[in-house]
């Protein structure tokens, strides 16, 4: 392998990129656009669940119970309703996501020391929001129930009892539970995978399709040199993307970056080399741009969004799917990024993931070089 020939191919490819400013522009604009959308528009945080109340009891007790909901920052009170039909209308028109129904004998039962049922209806079509809303409702109800019991004890004992347990949850790494803090580092991982394969998946197929491959074959350049030369300019674009993403995350979205920045870029470079080589591999295998683009999208786009743990928890998936996620390199890169960003941990903790990424990239480079044949057939 001669550095001079690698360099020549790299220069040619680099000119190619510069001559097509629109593709280059989109290669940079897509990450920026995604960051803006994710950073500003998207949140999985559930608060202010719109709630309607059907209070058939209309007593001080029931009103106090309802006020527990209204006072919680998780619900916003959307008014009273009078029957199930109105609840249905409110939920169908998405005016409310949840409805609380209090039966007529609510206060009477509590006064008699019996359990009082209440009903919570949620719109289950968005199951995530519904689950979270139900959890909040349970918490409000239990607080109220405990207050009722405590009042009973006070009446008997004559003094306020100590509550038995003082539960102190402490949230590490992301104390305000801001979804932006985990989405931005995750997004960098997902984006790099997509962009990398997008950038290179057409490069070799294009030469075949246009017929310029024959010219390349007639030159003394060797296969591995050609692949390496094609890789380098796109690596530069990918690193530029990473820099932009890190800077935007830090200064626009104020996501804390607690770990080492050099480590971040080192791992990102390794990961990019793997992703870009995967693109080249796809390109050499298909020799056809339409097919290469479909295959690259198939291999990178949806798997890295859905199977990397980016939004969907891997531990909640069925076991066979969990096995498959081990094959998704974005999964490891994502762990590394979240570790560096939020936990501030270094190589001593992330060694396993980093090693796997090195392995992945090494394998991809070797595969891309070996699969490429300087032959016409």
């Amino acid at each position: 392998m001669k550095a001079r020939r690698v360099w020549a191919v790299a220069r040619k490819e680099f000119l190619h990129i510069l001559r097509d400013p629109r593709s280059l522009g989109m290669g940079i604009a897509i990450p920026v656009l995604l960051l803006v959308i994710y950073g500003y528009a998207l949140t999985m945080d559930v608060d202010e669940v719109p709630l309607v109340v059907w209070d058939q009891s209309e007593t001080p007790e029931s009103r106090e119970f309802v006020s527990g909901f209204a006072a919680s920052r998780y619900f916003t009170w959307q008014g009273h309703v009078r029957n199930y039909a109105e609840i249905e209308r409110a939920i169908d028109s998405r005016q409310a996501m949840a409805a609380l129904v209090i039966p007529a004998d609510f206060a009477a039962r509590l006064a008699a020391g019996r359990n009082a049922p209440a009903q919570m209806i949620v719109d289950g079509s968005d199951s995530n929001t519904a689950t979270i809303a139900l959890g909040y409702a349970d918490a409000v109800v239990e607080t109220y129930s405990q207050a009722v019991t405590m009042a009973q004890i006070r009446r008997i004992q004559g003094r306020t009892p100590d509550p038995p347990l003082d539960f102190r949850p402490r949230v590490w790494f992301n104390p305000e539970l801001q979804s932006r803090h985990y989405i931005v580092p995750g997004l960098i991982a997902v984006m790099m995978m997509m962009i990398a394969a997008l950038l290179t998946s057409l490069t070799v197929a294009r030469e075949w399709e246009r017929g310029t491959m024959e010219q390349l074959i007639s030159t003394p350049v060797k296969g591995p040199e050609l692949i390496l030369g094609k890789l380098l300019p796109y690596l530069a674009v990918g690193i530029l993307d990473t820099v932009i993403a890190v800077v935007m995350g830090r200064f626009i979205f104020a996501v804390p970056l607690r770990g080492s920045i050099p480590l971040l870029f080192a791992v990102a470079t390794v990961f990019l080399i793997g992703g870009l080589s995967l693109g080249i591999l796809v390109s050499t295998v298909t020799r056809n741009q339409l097919m290469a683009s479909q295959l690259a999208a198939l291999l990178t786009l949806l798997p890295s969004v859905l199977l990397s743990g980016f939004v969907f928890e891997i531990r909640s998936m069925p076991a066979p799917i969990q096995m498959i996620t081990y094959l998704i390199p974005a999964r490891y890169f994502l762990n590394v990024l979240r570790g560096i960003y939020l936990k501030g941990v270094g190589l001593e903790t992330l060694a396993g993931e980093t090693l796997l990424l090195v392995l992945f990239s090494g394998m991809m480079v070797i595969l891309a070089m070996r699969r490429f044949r300087k032959k016409l057939v």
């Binding site: 593709s23 968005d126 979270i132 405990q146 539960f167 949850p169 294009r206 339409l290 199977l307 909640s316």
Partner: protein, 376 residues
């Protein structure tokens, strides 16, 4: 006209389906994707890795720990012996939550005073952390309530008649709160969008790039016929994909279909108008397939994110909520989820369908105007 269009269609079909690998890509991969993602997409939180750092070693601490495990949400991964290990577990992500009992936990409880109990939580993934927080406060609250009842029992000498509020929860449209029911229809919409958008956007540019466009231009074919010839095959292919993966979604994933499937097919047609129109539009502004592919991604990713597929539209800032009104995928998702889960019909879904028709006519109209200009 009909004859020329026919030839064009035959040519396009041959071109698209000639290559066996391409055939596999078009027809087999959507199915694989559905299987994979149908199982993967779940926001249900379970099997949370829990570690316990129990300095009390008492009946009470063990009882509460076992309640966490029995709740079904937590997997006990480790009983921690020394404090340094807690940090390590959370740093490595081997445990998501650590339950911590201080020495004297049981003693304090028995004395009728307030015992402190700590839960350390990995907040990295804030959504999960919030749910875990909910689960654990519920478990702790329940235990606390029982302790209070016992205390009452001791005071009164008889079992207490506790007055509690019992919340009966009911989730409409999705009783078991299966997130799979919510996401599988979305996955169907996503796969179809990707295939139809990318196939159309690259197909026309390909002729430009290879130089065969000039050959087509010297034939007597008219612009309308060329446009139809380029879009109809992909519309049919996308239709086949939709039908195939819908059948699998229903039969395999047992996603309920409460509405009318014919209506779904009709709405799919409206939706395909917009994706084909957008694909055509991309191909008129692109010179190379690379540009077309980038362009397709440039449209697809925001459309995916701003559709309500994963992230609820109601939670977005107002500006972005307005933007989603231009997103055909948003309407298609509402329709497809409405038909699958809510069983609602055209009487409720007509605004979404109208929006899709308008967007479809607009994009297709714009695309064919630009397309003709490039041809002439």
């Amino acid at each position: 006209m009909r004859e020329r269009l026919w030839h064009m269609l035959v040519k396009e079909f041959i071109q698209a389906l000639r290559n066996p690998r391409m055939r596999a890509l078009i027809f087999v991969t959507p199915v694989i994707q559905l299987f994979l993602f149908g199982y993967a997409v779940t926001t249900d939180v379970q099997n949370i890795a829990l570690a316990v750092y129990d300095q009390d070693h008492s009946v009470a601490s063990r009882e509460l720990t076992s309640r966490f495990v029995r709740s079904g949400y937590f997997d006990l991964v480790e009983s921690v012996a020394e404090p340094g290990r807690v940090q390590e577990l959370l740093d490595r992500g081997e445990a998501r939550a650590v339950l911590q009992f201080h020495r004297g936990f049981q003693e304090t409880l028995q004395a009728g005073r307030t015992a402190e109990l700590q839960l350390l939580l990995d907040g990295t993934i804030s959504n999960t952390a919030g749910i875990v927080l909910n689960y654990s406060s519920r478990i702790v609250n329940q235990y606390s309530q029982e302790l209070l009842d016992q205390r009452m029992h001791r005071l009164l000498g008889t079992p207490p008649r506790t007055a509690k509020v019992e919340l009966a929860a009911r989730a409409w449209f999705n009783e078991a709160l299966e997130s799979r029911n919510f996401f599988v229809p979305g996955v169907i919409a996503m796969i179809v969008t990707l295939t139809s958008l990318m196939l159309t956007s690259m197909a026309v540019v390909r002729e430009k790039e290879i130089g065969t466009m000039e050959q087509i231009l010297v034939t007597p074919i008219r612009p309308v016929e060329l446009i139809l010839g380029k879009t109809i095959p992909f519309a049919l292919i996308s239709y086949a994909d939709v039908i195939g993966i819908t059948i699998i979604g229903v039969l395999w994933f047992a996603v309920p279909v409460r509405g009318n499937l014919l209506l779904l097919l009709f709405a799919t047609g409206l939706f395909l108008l917009t994706t084909l129109g957008l694909g055509l539009l991309i191909s008129t502004v692109s010179q190379t397939q690379q540009q077309a592919m980038m362009g397709a991604f440039f449209l697809y990713l925001p459309a995916l994110l701003l559709s309500g597929f994963i992230f609820p539209i109601a939670n977005m800032p107002e500006v972005f909520q307005w933007l989603t009104l231009l997103n055909p995928l948003r309407y298609f998702l509402e329709i497809i989820r409405g038909i699958f889960l809510k069983g609602i019909g055209a009487s409720i879904l007509w605004p979404q369908m109208a929006a899709l028709s308008i967007l479809g006519v607009a994009t297709l109209g714009l695309a064919s105007r630009r397309f003709r200009k490039t041809l002439e």
